[in-house]
Amino acid sequence: MAVRPLPLQACIGFGGTVGNGLILHPDKKTLIYPLGTTIVLRDKGDLTKQEFLQGHSNRVSALAMSKSGKYLASGQVSPMGFSAPIIVWDYAGRKILHKLILHKVKIQGLDFSFDDELLTSYGGTDDCKLVVWRTKTGEAICGSPTPLDYAICAKWANHTNHILVTAADMKVNIWQVDADNRKLYPGSCDIGKRKRINQCVVIDDKDEFMYLGTRTGDVLQVSIGPMLYRAGGPKQLIEMGVLCLQFTPFQDLVVGGGDGTVNLIRLPTFKNIKRHKLPGSITSLAVAGQGAKGSFDVYAGTSEGQIYLIKYDGAKNAMAATLIQRCHFNKINDVCFPSNYSELFCTASTNDIRLWNLKEMKEVLRIEVPNKECEARDSINQECFCCAFMPDGKTIVSGWSDGKIRAYAPQTGKLQYTIVSAHQRMGAFKGATDTKCFQGVSAIATTSDSLRIVSGGVEGNVRVWRIGSQSHSMLASMKAHTQACTSITVKKNNTECVSCSNDGSVMVWDLTLYRRNNSMGASNFFKSVVYSTDESQILTCGTDRKITFWDAYDCAAIRVIDGSLSGDMLCLDNSPDGQGLATGSGDREVKLWNYDEGHCYYVGLGHSAPVTKVKISPDMKKIVSVGEDAAILIWDYRKPVSNSPGSDKDVKVKSPNSPK
């Protein structure tokens, strides 16, 4: 039985780090942005209307839309030494037209000429190539090696396909493109004594001037004909550099800064007439539409993964930003559902826990713990490693990297209680001069009566906490693991729990006497452990790429399945009816298995980084997976049997790692 693709229903996430990654299609209806390996086509107004273009094997690093809206080009990164393909998509048919393979490691950027005929691509610092392609046939016309300081950004002229502009550190080049004779003639612009690192470029309507955004924080105006510096500004520099530039409908510049400001710059004077501060830094801007009296709309994508719609009112000279999409911006560590309730789920990531509405895919609540409160001063961010809902639904418990367990009320997000120093050990590295704190709660589980919490720490302890109506106390601290405890599951009748650790041991604990019942070992970093639905078996997975089934009574290995051929198995979850088993792996795949057969029926490709956690919703309609790429992917659950319906979306999925 062939493996079928798992239909991706929706995703919450935005690849905010990709420069100019947010594109508004020329029909002004669809927002296009990369998310890991996928490209998301999202309806401008409705978050739930999403389509996905899947074809890249690694993180998408560049995205370009042709002027007519017919073609979409996307480039990716690859491991060092491997080729990085560019995919040209037929936008209307949502199909791959060409796969252009010439660059290596990383595609820095892409741009279409004004008549869609030519496509230029330029590689990153490990590649240093500038290539011009013919869009229709997909053949490479001409190219040139570009030294390191040649191409960080490139742009075609607006009225001719003979002029191509590239800019990089300290250098601005204008290339004469002779497509018929397959020749590229470089010409360097004179920008005087100014030392600037150019980061982005736009060309005006009449092909007279180009405008370069610099890391210094100003915009340079360089004339294309005489290739001379002409003007620059604004006087007050934009902090942390200009990351993206766009023309407004009124031929002014809207500038996205590294400090998160969106600036409107009047053109002949370079006067910064309006600025609006957003959190994060602005990595991409897409001008949407124009209104009366100099008003216009612009979409801004930030490095923190948020998409804002900024409305500029020309009459009042006022900017107002509305958040239209929000998501995590860093590795997501955990996802969980409340018991027997699939409308909501909770994700744990850097600095915050967020509660999402599964149906509307909207953020319901954000509980932030800024780094100020974190005692681990050596870490950059306060991270939430794990979270769980109390079965009575009254609190969310979470384990943090500073060794505390924090519990929050789910509706207001108020902190209910904190268990300080829940998992902490003073120790020292060999050879270190000072002692150091090893702390962090890496696994957490609740009992079904909501009276106890079982937690596991990075130092390997498994601790049981009593949670009263107004107080909490430690009932037992069980020390057997020598490495971090990665996962804990409690039996439904609260008599036993099972924990697994990086030291290659899985232990079964008695929760009435607080001692060890049994243990299993393997040469493996165990990453996840669950009970089967009838609790007769224990399932584990880990870095040995295998899913192991153990007997729950005598802890003998029953069956071992190869979960993946190339990556670690990082998480697993079984369906409430006991038929299905979902796994997520380090090779970015979400797999759905039949529990009894041990056969993989569906593979979901969409993550661009290891999948850290996967959960099947309690009503068995959706699978939610989160990864280190900060994406939350929501898949349709299909019964893992041979006659189950396949994907209704016709997406050709090819991954180098997917099983044949």
């Binding site: 909501l344 319901v364 519990a407 009320a409 909490h472």
Partner: protein
């Protein structure tokens, strides 16, 4: 079990079931409802009344629980938020909020303005001497006033009546010298007047008390009776068909009239 007074399961509200909106009742429906209510009440009343043995049906004298004397209900109610005038302070109008425009100076040519004003001005009508009225153009100019013509006509008629020719003519008509036949109209009106007077006198007479104790009462009674008989006599006289009237008084009466007593 930590009591946070919140729940995950309450975050998403269950979808509200669709409620069909009933259209507002029409006028006839409202009327029917009212009529039904009244008839229901009447029927109930009838039923209770028929069953009652004495007084109002049971439960009617139960005091209403809601109508008790409430605290402070007899004190005057102060309406807050309404501005009440306590002091008679002269209030000045607000300072105008719109800014005065500085620097805009109007150059006025007073000579030209004055000239224009003069050209367009009109005299005050109230101060102009009025036109003399000319009586010649009056409608009634040179005509006798209406009151004078009627008066003259009346006197002429009277003269004509009093003229000896006329008198002779009347006497000839009734075959007696120095008399004339009383006009039928005059006779009837006189008789009617007498009858009215009789009715009036009779009414007063009838209103007299039964027992006449005082002399004055007796005298009044006698006077009434005398008047009534005289009136009856006059009426019977006037009810004759032909009445001849002499304009000159009878000799006895004439003597009394002409000769003064002293």
């Amino acid at each position: 079990m930590w009591e946070s007074k919140e729940s995950v399961y309450k975050i998403i509200k269950p979808p509200v079931a669709f409620k069909p909106r009933t259209p507002p009742p029409t006028a006839s429906e409202v009327r029917d409802k009212k009529i039904a209510k009244i008839t229901r009440r009447l029927k109930l009343m009838l039923r209770q009344k028929s069953a009652a043995t004495m007084g109002k049906p049971g439960g009617h004298y139960k005091p209403c629980v809601k109508n008790f004397l409430k605290k402070h209900s007899k004190e005057p109610v102060i309406v807050y938020g309404q501005q009440r005038c306590t002091k008679h302070v002269k209030r000045f109008p607000d300072v105008p909020k719109d800014k005065p425009v500085y620097g805009r100076v109007k150059i006025l040519d007073f000579i030209k303005m004055n000239a224009e004003q003069m050209i367009h001005s009109k005299p005050d009508r109230s101060k102009i001497p009025k036109k003399q009225r000319r009586y010649m153009f009056k409608k009634s100019f040179g005509k006798l006033p209406a009151y004078l013509t009627t008066r003259m006509k009346e006197s002429a008629d009277k003269k004509k009546k009093d003229s000896p020719e006329e008198k002779a003519k009347a006497a000839a008509a009734c075959n007696h010298a120095g008399t004339r036949k009383l006009d039928e109209k005059e006779r009837i009106s006189m008789m009617n007047a007498l009858k009215m007077k009789w009715a009036d006198t009779n009414a007063r007479y009838q209103r007299l008390s039964v027992a006449l104790d005082l002399d004055s009462q007796k005298r009044a009674k006698e006077r009434f009776e005398e008047n009534l008989t005289r009136l009856e006599k006059d009426v019977s006289l006037l009810s004759r068909k032909v009445i001849l009237v002499s304009d000159s008084a009878p000799s006895k009466v004439q003597r009394e009239v002409t000769t003064p007593k002293h």
